[in-house]
């Protein structure tokens, strides 16, 4: 039987070159979705194959890799991907945002500010921001080409007409470099402002949908809105119960079956760093009160 021998970072060099060409094109046209010949990876589609291919294509032996899922280094899929690269590329891994040169993420942008020289690789399930308004690829590509984005404002208009405000809480569409409307992947809209004028390179990989797109460093990223209904961040109004942070995105933890719950940082590295420098929260700091109805 042919026992396979794998290349550095799993993908063969020919495939890596193909992906790098797509990445370069994506950087040259910020926010534009570049088609690429996505390969079958040893993890399922929808589980980060796009991000993994991008990471594999850019990883060098001296890189330090961090992988997060839902902001945490310890969720099962983050562990699985980190182990994959530790095994196939033998690169150093870290959980510290500041120490990483490449950060692969699903659904979050780290709280600690990114710096120049870092690359943030997003895993993207559906790269097309217009997909649920217009299912046809042929039509959405035409809309992007002609900059016809009236339809996406129709969606925002409908939200305001119905709810009084824009009711999109994650995968909140943005306009990149004043040209292409882009899906930031399913990150909470709390993270949107971090993409704007970010010193790090941001790469987005969608394996199943075979698209790569990018935000080069220091590029304008504007969340779509109306002048009289400007974009707002959402954050649950409480300090983290573990580290007391008032500026981080929070996970809700259900602590018992009697309505008990607490809120802690979703970014585990951020939270642990704060705790180790002496910050403390209080489990009772902000007991969440459900409004009594009826």
């Amino acid at each position: 039987m042919n026992a396979p021998a794998y290349n550095f970072a799993y993908l063969d060099e020919q495939t890596k070159r193909m992906i790098r060409r797509a990445i370069l094109k994506a950087i040259a046209i910020p926010g534009y979705q570049v088609p690429f010949a996505s390969r079958e990876m040893p993890m399922p589609y929808g589980w980060g194959t796009g991000g993994v291919q991008v990471t594999a294509a850019i990883l060098g032996p001296n890189d330090v890799l961090k992988v997060i899922d839902q902001g945490s280094d310890d969720t099962t899929n983050a562990i699985s991907i980190r182990k994959f690269f530790a095994k196939t590329a033998g690169v150093a891994t870290t959980t510290a945002t500041a120490d990483a040169t490449v950060i692969q993420t699903r659904h979050r942008i780290p709280e600690a500010p990114l710096h120049g020289g870092q690359v943030l690789v997003y895993q993207v399930p559906i790269p097309e921001p217009l997909r649920f308004l217009e299912p046809r690829e042929t039509e959405t590509r035409r809309m992007h080409a002609l900059g016809e984005y009236g339809l996406i404002h129709v969606k925002l208009y409908e939200d305001i007409a119905r709810f009084g405000h824009i009711a999109t809480s994650y995968a909140y569409p943005v306009k990149v470099n004043a040209r292409y409307v882009m899906d930031p992947s399913p990150t909470p809209k709390f993270d949107n402002p971090k993409m704007d004028n970010c010193p790090a390179l941001q790469l987005f990989g969608a394996g199943r949908e075979k698209r790569i797109y990018a935000i080069p460093p220091h590029t304008s990223v504007l969340s779509l809105d109306f002048e009289d209904h400007p974009f707002t961040r959402y954050r649950f109004d409480a300090p983290c119960a573990l580290c007391g942070a008032e500026d981080s995105y929070l996970d809700e933890i259900v602590t018992d079956d009697r309505g008990g719950r607490m809120f802690v940082c979703s970014d585990t590295d951020y939270c642990e760093t704060r705790q180790s420098s002496g910050h403390r929260g209080s489990e009772n700091a902000a007991p969440h009160k459900e409004r009594a109805h009826g």
Binding site: R142, A145, L146, E148, Y149, G150, L151, H153, V154, Y157, E158, I160, A161, R162, F226, E227, D228, H229
Partner: protein
């Protein structure tokens, strides 16, 4: 807008059709059609089904490519251009700003699952309007103009009656103040009483706004009420053309005489 145009510009045609022909295999749907349409003028294209009038409307509105001939249009900057030479971006921009297209079936021209306000506001947002309040105010005033209760602004057109849908489609088209509107059997499929109200509304809007319009209809009553000029089509050819009253009261071609006598009993 009409008041912005100087008198000299009104002397020049808005749209010129030059020897247009279109064939499907051996079937010729439209043969050698030429005419000029002036600003503010309403032209009716009449004929039986299969006479080629819908094909002609699609040729004129650049939705079909002719086998021979060309259509030119005088853009807002005053330059007359061949539609076939426009890029797709320019053509689509024209379509959502300076032109309107009213379909016979409103479901084809509206987003049926989206509120009336957004249906009217979409064209504004597409050309860069970015103030919710102003978009909504403009949509409200257009609903009033087409006699739709402003209280229904957040309802989707699938909850509307056929006549309301057609009026909403007209508002959606007129909100960007186009100079030319194409209408394909705009009253088809509506009850007679609903038709009368719609025709009355359209006649008022067309004259208030100084719109030019090309109306395809098999209903000579529609042509009589709305249009200044009529073109009669048969077998893909224009067989008679002239002022509406003249053609309908004193038809020269035997076919037109037949049409008038069978459909317009005095």
């Amino acid at each position: 807008m009409a008041e912005n145009q100087d008198a000299a510009a009104d002397d020049q045609p808005l749209l010129i059709a030059d020897r247009l022909s279109k064939a499907y295999g051996r079937l010729t749907a439209c043969r050698d059609v030429s005419f000029a349409l002036y600003p503010g003028e309403v032209l009716a294209i009449v004929g039986e089904s299969g006479s080629g009038k819908t094909t002609l409307l699609q040729l004129l509105s650049a939705q079909l490519v002719p086998n021979a001939g060309c259509v030119s249009y005088r853009m807002r900057d005053g330059v007359t251009r061949d539609l076939a030479a426009l890029g797709e971006a320019e053509r689509r921009f024209l379509f959502r700003t300076d032109w309107g297209y009213v379909h016979q079936d409103p479901a084809q021209g509206l987003r049926m699952a989206v509120s009336a306000g957004a249906n009217v506001g979409e064209r504004l947002m597409a050309v860069g309007w970015n103030h919710y309040g102003r978009i909504r105010d403009t949509a409200s005033s257009w609903l009033e103009r087409v006699e739709i209760d402003v209280g229904r602004i957040d309802d989707a057109p699938r909850t509307y009656s056929g006549g309301m849908r057609q009026r909403l489609q007209i508002a959606r088209n007129l909100v960007t103040e186009p100079r030319l509107v194409f209408m394909d059997e705009p009253t088809g499929g509506l009850d007679v009483s609903v038709q009368a109200r719609l025709l009355d509304l359209m006649r008022n809007l067309v004259s208030e706004l100084g719109l030019a319009a090309i109306v395809v209809t098999h209903d000579l009553a529609v042509a009589r009420l709305l249009s200044h000029r009529v073109m009669v089509m048969k077998g893909g050819r224009v067989i008679e053309t002239g002022l509406t009253d003249q053609v309908l009261d004193d038809p020269r071609e035997p076919y037109t005489q037949l049409l008038v006598s069978s459909i317009l009993p005095a």
